[in-house]
Symmetry: D3
Subunit: 327 residues, 6 copies
C-alpha cells in the first residue's frame, strides 16, 4: 500500500469514483468549478495553483482578461471548490531591477518550503521572450519577486516542496522550436533561489499523446515510493494541439531519476468544457491537494484554456496504475 | 587616449595598417593563418580561442572533421601565427555526470581568471539540444568539466577575465527561433561557476547587419573606458545569413550596461576566404590578444566556417570609432 | 449622452439586454438567424452585409456552396431576422475587363453613398491572389463592377457611408505574412472610386485577442463622438485562430485618426454555434443597423464560419465602454 | 436505374432517409456506433474496415490506445452495428523480413479478392516514415504480411475487389512527411501483390473542401455505371483541417479514368461527434456495405478521429447525384 | 530594323561586343564600375538609377551603409562610368504627412516625364512593411515626396517615361508570400500621381530562372515595336535565390499587354562580382541608357547586392532575340 | 588487394595522384571538363552519366537551358574528357501513355544490363511532382520509355549493372516535395522493369556532411569485396545546402546490406568551380568508369550545379579507406 507523506487534509474536496468507472482519475461532477463568471471583466480562469492555508485554501489563479492578456490573481476558498478571486492582479515587489523584469505572468504554481510560500510562473518579458519568474510571500498580500531563474526561454517551472540534498529543486522546461527537439522536463538546483545550476534532464517526449512536448504540473507529492509527479503531454493533431495528463514517480533522493512514467495518458480531454473553449482539447494540471490519512488526491486543472476543473484519484491506485503502465 | 588595462604583450602578432586604408580594423596579409592543412583529417579549422601561455600562445581550436562533426582541440604556437594543433580532441574529465552531458562542442572561448584557465563552448547534447559547456584547466592537458550552465538552448557564452562584484560573469545568448525574437546578448552571474543567476539583457538585435541575431566574441578587453566587447552580428540575405563584426563598450562595474555600441559594422566579409567556404559570408570573432603598452589588438576570427583569419586594430582608434558610430 | 447621426430605423431587430448581463454587447436569443438551411445546396451562410431597403431590409450574403467555394448572393427580409436568399450568385457586369478580374468573392460589405449602393468584398483572382473588389447597384438587380482597388493582397475593405473631405474613404487591410508584420487597418481615399491614394494606417495589431491581425467590420456608424467602427481581432491559439469583436472611435473629419479603441474585446466566441463549426471560435462582424432615435445598434456577424448571428448594443453604453477600455 | 453488381446482402444495416432530408447521404440515428467504450484501454476507435463474413460481419478496426498509438484489431458483429473488438492487436506473420517492416498501422481497409481477404493500411516504420502495408488472411486469425508496396511515403491504399485486366489494382496516395503537403489519388497495378507498377494519377485536389488533399475511402463498389468510389477531401481552415466525403465514378475497365466526380461534398462534419473529438471536423469513410438487390449502401466512417459512425445512401440516387454535381 | 524612339545620346557608355561572344548582352570589361570605394562609410553600392542630365549623367544610387541600412543618394558623372556619389542621403520634403511615411528606401528608379524627374523606390515603413515611395525633383537638389502609392506590400515600381492614354503608368509588384503565389508584374494608372487605380497584371512568373518571382527593371524604352522592358527573374536554388535578367516587349498603347517575353534569360550571374558578394548570384537591372541614333543600349545593374555593373546590347539584336525566344 | 570485377578499360581518363596529396580522391587538373560553352544556348551542363561505348564513350548529359529548365542530351567523346553534346534533347518514345508521363528529366544515370542500355532519371511531371523515369536504348538514337517506377516522390534512382538474384535492382530515394525533407537510400527489385517491389532501406542519413539527405551516385562498381557505391551527402549550412561525396560497400549478393560506409566525406566542395556557381558548394557524382586491370576509377561529378568535373581514385586505396573510415 503506497502512502502519501505529509499532513492530513480532512476537509479537502472529494468525491468517490462513480460506479462502473474504471479510469484511474475521475472528474468532479460539478465541473467546471471556476469560470469567467467568478471574476467580472475576465475572459477565462484557467491554469491555476491552489494550496491549503489556514483552515481553508488559497490560490494563485491565472485570469485572462477580456484583452486576453494573462494575469495572476490571489483567490480564497473555504472548501477548495467555491472561490473568490481578487479583482486586482498580484503586484510583485521587485528589488532586483533588470534581473527580475516582468511584463506579465501565467500558469502559476505555489509551493510552501520551510517558512514561506513560493510562486513560480511563466514570466513574459515583452520584446524578449519568456523565462521562469519566481517570488515568495508569507501572507499572500506582499509578494517579493526573486531574480528570473534563467536568461530566457523556459516555462512550466515547478518547485519541490522541500529542499533536496540541501538545495531548492525546480522542475522546468527549456523551450525552443528552433532546435527541432520538443520540450522536455529538466531539473535544476539552487542553494539560495538566486543562483541556479546542476541542470539535468528528467524525462523527455516519447510518442502519441506525449510526443510533441511535456511539462510538469502540480507541486510533486511525496510518497513512500518517491515523488509523484503529474504532468501534461501534448500531441499535434490536424486540428491543433491536444493536451492530456500523465504521471511519473521520481526517485526520492535523486528526483532527476524517473523510476516509472505512464505510457498511457491518465486523463485526456473528453468533457465538453475540455473539448471546446478558447483552446480546444486541453486538460492542463497545475495544482494538487493530498490527504496523507486517506490517500486522496485532488487535481486542479485548466480545461480548454477557459475554465478550471477538478479531478480525483487515490494514491495507491494511481501509483499502481503508473507502475503497470510504465515504459 | 584610451588605454588597455592589463599586461604588456610585446611579441603579439601585429602588422601596421596599410596605407590608404581607413577602416578601423584591417586584415593580416598572410590570411588565412590556419586551414584544414594544419591538421590532417580535418575539413575546416574555424572559430577558435587563443591566449598567451608561457612565452608563446596556446589555444582551443574548433576543428570540423571530414565527417563535419565539430570538435575542440588544443593548439600551440610560438608567435600566434603558426600553429600546431593536436590531432586528438580534448577529453573533458566529467565529475558531474548528467549535469555535464557532452556530445560534442564548438566555438570555444578561453579565459584566465585568478588561478586557472576556463573554457566555455557551445555544448551539444545529442537528442536534447545545445547549452553552454564549461571546464577549467591549469595546464591544457587535464580539463575538468563543470556542470552545464543552463538546462538548454544557449550558446556564445564568454566569460569576463576577472570577477565582477565578486562573481563570475558570463555573456551568453539564449536561443529560440520559436519565440519570434532573435538572439540577444545576456549577462549572468555565478558565485562559484556551478550555480548561475541574476540574468540581464545587455544588448539586442537592431537592424541591418545585426538585425537577425548577435553574439559575444572574444573575452572582453578591459580598458579605462570600460569593457571592450567585440561581437558578431547576423543578417538574413536572399542567399543565406551573413556574419559581420561589431563592438561595444560595457560599463566597467556594471557590464550589463552598454555605454556604446556600433551602429556600423567594423568588418564584414569581403576577402575571398570570407566570402566563399563551407558557409559563405562569415567573419566570426572568437579571441583577442591585446598589448597594454602599445594598445595593439589582434582579433582571431573564423572565416566562411572554413579557416581562421587574423585582423588588427588599435585600442584608441577603435574606441574612438565605437563612440562616434554608436546608437 | 452619445448620439447616432442618421435616420431613425424604428423597425430594426432588437431585444433588450437580459437581466444580469453586464456585457456591452449581447446575443439575440434566437441565434443563429441564418444557416445553411436558408438556401438549399449551401454548406454555410456566414459573413454577410445587411442594409435598410424600402420598408424592409436587403443584404449581400456570403454563401459557401457544398463545394465550399464562397459566393455572394442577394437576400431580402421584412424584419431583418427572417431572410430569403436568392439561389443565384450575383453576376457583376464588368465594363473594366482585366482591371476588374473576378474569380469569386467573399465577406461582402454594403454601403449607401449619395445615390447608390456600393458593395465591396474580398476579391479572389485565381492564380493571382486576393484584392478588394467593388461594385455599385441602384436596385440590387444590376451590379456594375468597378476596377479592383489595389493590384493585389488586400481584404476587409469597408467604405464610409459618406465622402470624407470630398472623397470616397475606404478602410482596408493590406495583407502579407511574408513581411513578419500582421494585418493592420488602413485608410485610403478616392475622388471617383476608380483611382485610389492617400493611404494611412489607422490602427494596428497590439496583443492578446487582437495580437495577430485585425480587420474592419460593418460600415462605420456616424455619431456625435466620431465614427464608431466595430472590427474583428484575431489571436493564434494552440488549436487555431480565434476571432473576436472590438470597437474604436475614429475622428469625425480625419477618420484615419483613432481617438479610442478597445483594449478588451467586446464579444468573443462563447455560444456553441460560435465555438464549433467549419472554423471554430469565430465571431466576425460584417454589418450593423442603427436607429438614431433610440441609439440601438444591431450587429450581424458570422459565427464559426458556418452561420449568421445577431448581437445588440446601445450607442451610449458602447461608446462609454470603448472610452473606458481604450488604450 | 443504376445497379450494384455483386451479391445481395439482405441483413445489412439500414435506415430509411428521414423525411424532409434532401441530402444524398444520411446519418444513422444511433451514431456513434462504436466508441472507446467498446474496448477497455482505448482512447478512440475510428477509421475502420468492415466486410460481410459468414452470416454476419467482420472488420479490421483502428483502435488508438491510451498512449495514442494507433493499432489494428479484429472485430466481429452479427448485425454490423454492435461490435466486439478483440483486445489484442493483429499480429502479422512476416515472411519478408526488411521488405515488410512494420512499427504500427492505421486506417485499414479490407478487400476480398478471389480466395482470400486482403488488408491494406498506412504502415508506419519508425525512423523512416509511412508506406502502404499489405497482408492477407483466410480466417482473420492468421494474417500473412506481404512486402510493403512502395519504398516510402504513401497512404490511403485501397484495393479493387477483383483484378482489373488480370492484375491487382490499388488506389493510393503518394505523400510526404507530415500533414502539410497536398496529395492526389493514384492507381497502381500488380501481377502478384509483390511487384507494383503502371502508376497513373486518377484524380487530384481541386478547390474548396477537396482543395488540400484527397484520399480513397472504402473498397470501390462495382455498378453498371462503373466503379463507385467514395473518398475524403480535406481543406485547411484557420482552426485546422476539415475532412469531408465526396464520390466519383471510375471507368469499369480502366478505373484510372474518372468519368464523374463530385464538385460538392456529399457529407461534411456536422453532427456533434463529427465536429468535436480528438481531431475536430472529420468524417473519414473507410468501408462500405452494399446490397445488389435493393441498391442500399452503408458507409462506415471515422468521426472526429474518435468514434465510428454509419451513414446511408442509395445507389441510384447517389450515382445520379454524382453525375449532376460533377466537374 | 527595330528603332529606339527618343533622343540621340552620342556620349553614352559603350563597348562593342567582344568577338566570339554570341550572347545578346555583354558585360563592360571594366566592371564593376561602382563599388563601396566610391563612397567612404558604405558597405555596398548597388541597384541604382541613372539618367542623362545636362551634358552628362545624374543618378539616384542605392548605398547600403556599414550598418547595412539602405539609403538613396544622388550621384553625378560626366561619362556615365566614373561616378561621384554625394555622402548625404536624399532628404525628401514631405508635404503629405502620414500619407508619405518613410523610414528608408532602396532600389530607386528615375524617370523624366513632361517637366520633371520622378523617383520611385521600395519604401520601407518601420513596423509596417514596404510599399512604393514616389517623389519628384526639378534639379536633384530639392525632392518633393508624393503620397505612397499603395497602402502596403508592393515594390519594384517603375514609371513609363510618358503618360499612357493621358495617365501616369506604373509597373509594380504586389508582394505576399502568404498567398502561395510568387511576385508578378502589374500595371497601375494615375491621373495625377496621387490616386492610383486600373490595376492589371502584365506578366507573371513561369518556370526556371523566372519561376519564383519577377520584377520590372529600368524605365521601359520606347521602340517602334513597343515598349522594351528589361526585368529580373528569380529562382530558388538549394543555396539561395538566383537573380537573372530577361526582357519583354509591351504593347505601345496598351502596355499591360505583353507581346513577347523571353523564355530564356538574357544574362545570368556569371562574373565573379555577380557570383559572390553580400548576396550571391544576383544581377539586378535598374536603369538603362539608349541612343536612338545607333540603337545602343547600356544597362546598369546591381551585382551580388554589392557593386554596380554595366552591360550592353543593341536594340535590333535584342528585340530580335526576344521575339525568337518568346513563349 | 581489392579488385574490380569487369572489363578492362585501358583508354579511360586518368591522372596520377599529385605528390603530397593524401586524399583518397583527387581532381583532374583540367577541370571543369564540360561547361555551358560545350553547347550553345545552355546555362549549365552538370550532373551527367557516362559509359564506355564502341571504342570511346557516350553519355546522357543534364543540360539546363537558358530558361533554366533541365533537359537530357546525348553526348559523345573519344577520350571521356572532350565531349560533343547533341543540341536536341532526347525524345523518349512513350508506349505506356499516362503510365510514363514526362514533363522534363534531370540527373540521369546510364547502365548497361544484359543486352541494352537503361537510362534512369528524376522525372518531373508538371503539376504532380517527381518520380523515377526509366527508358532503354540499344543505340542512343532511339529511346524507349518504360512506365514510371513509383507513383510519385522519388529520385536519384540508380540501377545495378546486372540482375541481382534474377531481378533488376534499383537504388532510389523516396522523397517529398521541395528541398527540405530528409531522404535515405532504398533498394527496390523488379522482375521485368515494369513492376517493382521488395523495397528495403539500405543506408540512411546520419550526421555532419550526410545529416540532411543522401542519394546514390554512379552505377555501383562490382569488386571482390562487394558493390562499391559512391553517393552524395547533404548538410544544411547557414548559407544553404552543401553536397559532398561519400562511399559504401554493399554486400555482393544482398546489396541492400551495407557492409561499410564512410563516416568521413571522401571529397567535399573546395575548388572554385565547386564552391561557386548556380548552386554553391556542390559536388554531385553521377557516373564512374573503372578499369579492372589497373583498379583505376574515374568519377564524373556535377560541380556547383553548373559544370562537370572529373575526379580519380584507385580501387584498392578507396576500399581500404572506406573500411577504415566506416561507422
Amino acid at each position: 500500500m503506497s502512502k502519501i507523506i505529509g499532513n492530513p487534509l480532512p476537509n479537502m474536496p472529494w468525491q468517490d469514483k462513480p460506479e462502473g468507472n474504471r479510469d484511474p482519475m475521475w472528474r468532479f461532477d460539478r465541473n467546471p468549478i471556476v469560470t469567467r463568471h467568478n471574476l467580472e471583466g475576465s475572459r477565462s480562469v484557467l491554469n491555476s495553483a491552489v494550496i491549503p492555508y489556514g483552515d481553508g485554501y488559497i490560490g494563485v489563479f491565472r485570469v485572462d482578461s477580456l484583452e486576453m492578456i494573462p494575469g495572476v490573481h490571489v483567490g480564497r476558498s473555504k472548501d477548495g471548490i467555491n472561490w473568490e478571486i481578487e479583482p486586482e492582479q498580484i503586484k510583485f515587489i521587485n528589488e532586483y531591477g533588470d534581473m527580475a523584469k516582468f511584463s506579465y505572468g501565467f500558469d502559476p504554481r505555489v509551493c510552501y518550503i520551510e517558512d514561506r510560500y513560493y510562486v513560480t510562473w511563466c514570466n513574459v518579458i515583452n520584446g524578449e521572450g519568456s523565462t521562469v519568474g519566481a517570488a515568495y510571500t508569507y501572507d499572500f498580500k506582499t509578494f517579493h519577486q526573486l531574480p528570473n531563474v534563467y536568461p530566457l526561454y523556459n516555462r512550466n517551472a515547478v518547485l519541490f516542496p522541500k529542499k533536496i540534498n540541501g538545495r531548492f529543486a525546480l522542475l522546468n522546461r527549456p523551450t525552443s522550436r528552433g532546435h527541432c527537439v520538443g520540450g522536455n522536463i529538466y531539473y535544476s538546483e539552487s542553494p539560495d533561489m538566486e543562483f541556479w545550476g546542476h541542470h539535468r534532464m528528467v524525462i523527455g517526449t516519447t510518442s502519441g499523446w506525449q510526443g510533441t512536448k511535456i511539462g510538469a504540473g502540480p507541486i510533486p507529492i511525496e510518497t513512500d515510493e518517491g515523488w509523484l509527479m503529474f504532468y501534461h503531454g501534448v500531441t499535434q493533431m490536424a486540428s491543433g494541439m491536444m493536451y492530456s495528463i500523465g504521471a511519473a514517480i521520481l526517485d526520492k533522493d535523486e528526483p532527476w531519476k524517473a523510476l516509472y512514467r505512464t505510457k498511457a495518458m491518465i486523463m485526456g480531454p473528453e468533457a465538453p468544457y475540455e473539448r471546446s473553449g478558447d483552446c480546444n482539447n486541453v486538460v492542463f494540471p497545475c495544482a494538487a491537494l493530498a490527504d496523507s490519512e486517506t490517500g486522496r488526491i485532488a487535481i486542479y486543472y485548466g480545461a480548454a484554456d477557459t475554465v478550471l476543473g477538478l479531478a480525483f484519484c487515490e494514491v495507491n491506485e494511481i501509483i499502481d496504475y503508473i507502475k503497470k503502465n510504465s515504459y
